[in-house]
Symmetry: D3
Subunit: 243 residues, 6 copies
């Protein structure tokens, strides 16, 4: 058995403190600060009344995401991607993942020919920024959709279900839910799981950072993720229930 | 006489509500959220124990700044500079201005061969982002220097004086202090002024957006700026006096 | 039950014809043309007697991959990434996946301070280019390692196990192994699985393109992948057994 | 009192020899070589019968500028911006300044939906290249407008007033007009001033390179600039009076 | 007299073994693998039913080429141009040459408003890649035109004549036809010659790598090139005569 | 026989008026304005006391060239390459040609480990800018070498011979020397020839813009080029003979 102990006495299958603050900034149609413990991501939803070229004239809308990290969101300062003149492979991979996850619960035809841009900017990083981003972006998107409905621009909601995400991993042989940075650095296997409110999988991305993992370990990790995402969906509902 | 009225009954020579929150994020050596009314800029100071090539072996340190704006900090979403692959001329102009302003109050020899990076990221924009950035970056830089001194890495402070900045402008003939976005868009003349705690000028950048301005108008604007910067320096001192 | 029929009477759990041609080009330390049916990828391994900056002086080597697709490898011509001046997010995602997969079976310390570059260039695409690339790159890497051992530059092999990959997916409700392009375009769920010769997981990347997938479906897909990868490892062994 | 002596016995409030050569090249609608002593800038005005996107359909024209420096315009060779693949922050700052200065004296509605491009290329640099560029670009723009009027494409001139620029600075305590390179390198305060023929300010950009400057010093510098720009406007008029 | 001996007993005026394989890949309208000895270039022709901006509405079509080299086509691995983010000057020079050579034998009006893209990708390099590319691209273009005619999209062929290319050079005083890599590296003069089936010149690009060359030497080289290109045109005809 | 008449009664085998002005700018080690009729190119030579990486420690120097064209050097304004962020293929082709031509007459070992940068910037274009650039760059390089010898940094000249260049072409069947822009646009064949003072070829680049050209036409063009380059070398000698 592993002797690994989590910080602040957290249980292996316990999420960090989750906080979802709606209306964090004033201009965006949806603006959510989501916190998974010390990880803080600002997710804004912006509605644009046009679609990218591949959707023009299709009668369908588009939902897309961009991801960024402030240079000093991390322990040591990273270089600014705008100054370097290009986004890293990691950044592109994450923003593609967020976009796909959001589109999985959107009926693009019901959205009509408009685009929802989800900007996920990490103000402070402590592991799990991409899963926090997905979980927060959903709430921002819901706020933007609610605004469109309140304005009469949409008759019915194009959102079919909730979507949320969490990381799971194996550290010193112990399967853990919602890894923080020190756990993430030490883990053998790291898996990001995205699920719907109905409990189905949208994305499963598991990577063996150290030793390859077994089918049994995978099952343990998926069970942890199901538990965590269930709780995140509850947190989303509670946040959206507030005025 | 002008019939222009400021929002919230603000007087022509009155700053917006100024708030300076130190320790806004946990990783940086200095981390300050500064608010000029609805304008909110996160300023972090990062210490790096090396210098850029032009200072190598000089015995002197360097202080430099980068500036960014989150895509939805503004009324309509702007494109992400990292995704476009280059910083705009405006961004570069602003970050050069912040860097020069900071260096004006630093004794680079006393800093030793290390670099202080000041990252100024606009979370929400309502006019005056560059002047808020300068005013907040100074506080972040002071916190970083204090940390270096507490660690014994610096014997004496390389900071010679405060530096702060404010915008002034003429709207419908009326000279105004600390323009918010709607005023900035309507003004004929827009001037950004950077001054030291001793009341001397570091930068004066005045631009006639509409009609060219007279020497008399310039004098009125400079007087307003002196008043505002005096108050900003007091706000910096009060913020730094807290634990 | 699904009425979907695969081309050429292929069974749902059947790989396409796999061909592995070693020594396809003459200059590289390892050069393999791998074919999964009509998908053809040229994988070359190049040994460089130095390491990237993050490994300098570490006593460890590095294994990395780049991926490309000839403009007319596909049904309609794609634009050349070198001419556009940047690699797409998809390209970067794939080459990061190939690199991680190779490193999972390499003992970097046993490799010594040298780099193996794996270039995977798609000559013809018909679905599954990334899984073919991983499967072929392993053979090229093995050839390069054998050459280093024959030259006395390496005493023992730094390769700990085989690694191979295959795609699986659900088309019209039917779980299928090794999707070709028309199947890939039509599938609801698409999963790329990378496993070792010992049958452990290195990467699992499942994406719901249409409806989200259930735990049961995931289990079916993983079982198919295990079967396919077992056969691919046999094909790798047979290819390597030839002179 | 300062013991600083200017080269060639120039007085503190004296411009360098100013030469304005119209028709320096044959293709452009306006082509001016302007010399401030050894500083030589080629300013061309090109008329294009269309406007950038933000002016399309507005009934207004546009006036814009680009600035460049030949690699060996300076004492030591600088790298070519076209070869580096990007313009420096300094270049962008200068070309934005030239553009704003020109637009300050243009009635864009009277110009109609066409663009005047002002290209300012420094053939030889000895301080003051941006102020020479503004002063010369005005003459080139006037020539281009005259050509449009002669062709009947414009009924009345869209140019409302002259615009010219000069640098001023404080070297060893002495306020100086029109700094040459060695003075510019040694100065504590450097200010670029752009004014109209009517004597009003278009831009004031003052920077403390060494010690911060006082209100009194600023007044001295502005007085010098007013004198110098008055003389430059006379030089523009004389040049334009020639056939 | 020179004592230089060619590999494999090749005569000074002898081409390497030429192989032209049509239909090398399945998607392109024309797909040719051409081999000049160990040099192997994949040439594909793609038909696009639109033209670049400068031909829009002209009634004329366009023929253009792109050139690339796989990173390990050469003895030592070259860096991937897509990863570096730009094509080298050499690459651009070669693809411009291929494009001009193809257009020299095309009647662009007879082609109609469509584009033929010729992609020439070097799988293996041993000298003469650009001349092999031109020779192979012609065959791919012919196949694409034949397909357009078979589809009834073109009534008559827009191809007016064959075009082929070969390199010639002087090594240790000896004029040689069709240089391979070791000869190319050692030569004093290197010349690439492009000719039509009728025996006229399309391009002559001769460069003195060592000593400048005389008129007499030039005449010898041109005679060799004429002989070689005559044989290449025969090889093209034979390849095209096959089903 | 052709009825084509050249402007200003120029004979078919006559150069335009050639003017070579040394010392055109003050900072460069060599600075030459060369004029071929209305074509005006500023060629500067800059000496740098280091070499590029591929020559480090070789005991040899390097000679390299860059080429640029001011945006309004031509009839209609071209876009600025620095603003576009890349040099065109044409620009790169020309600067590679100038560099090779210069190196053909330099003994790089005798130059020692230093670099001569030749910057060729077209102030005004009327055909033949690359040939004027080569001819002028030689004079600038000679001035820079003379300065190195006068300073005692070089004992003997590393320049082995003159090098100069001219364009020739066939317009309406008539072979012409030194094409101006209108001739260049109308020609069927365009050839740039670079030769040494001894009358040997350094580069021959002939392109059929219209009909392919015959061996006989090529001979006529080379004869014209020999005549023209002979006269250009005389002009170089005369310019260098002046104080």
């Amino acid at each position: 058995m592993s002797s690994f102990t989590r910080s602040a006495g957290r249980a292996a299958d316990q999420l960090r403190a989750i906080r979802i603050t709606r209306g964090f900034t004033i201009h965006a149609e949806g603006s959510v600060l989501i916190e998974f413990g010390q990880t803080r991501v600002l997710c804004t939803a912006s509605v644009e009344e046009k679609v990218p070229p591949h959707k023009k004239g299709s009668g369908e809308g588009w939902v897309t995401a961009e991801y960024g990290m402030l240079p000093r969101a991390t322990h040591t300062r990273g270089s600014r991607e705008a100054a370097k003149g290009k986004q890293s492979g990691r950044t592109q991979e994450i923003q593609r993942l967020i976009g796909r996850s959001m589109r999985a619960v959107f009926d693009l035809r019901a959205l009509g020919e408009r685009t929802i841009h989800l900007d996920c900017d990490v103000l402070q990083a402590d592991g799990g920024t991409r899963t926090a981003a997905i979980t927060g972006a959903f709430v921002a998107a819901q706020d933007a959709v609610n605004k469109l409905m309140a304005q009469g621009l949409l008759g019915a909601s194009p959102i079919k279900d909730h979507v949320a995400a969490v990381s799971v991993g194996i550290v010193e042989g112990l399967p853990l839910l919602d890894l923080e940075y020190t756990e993430d650095s030490a883990c053998d296997t790291d898996m990001n799981v995205v699920m719907t409110g109905a409990g189905h999988f949208v994305e499963v991305q598991g990577t063996a950072e150290g030793a390859a993992f077994t089918r049994e370990e995978m099952n343990q990790l998926l069970a942890l993720a199901e538990k965590g995402i269930g709780e995140l969906v509850v947190a989303q509902r509670e946040a959206l229930a507030q005025a």
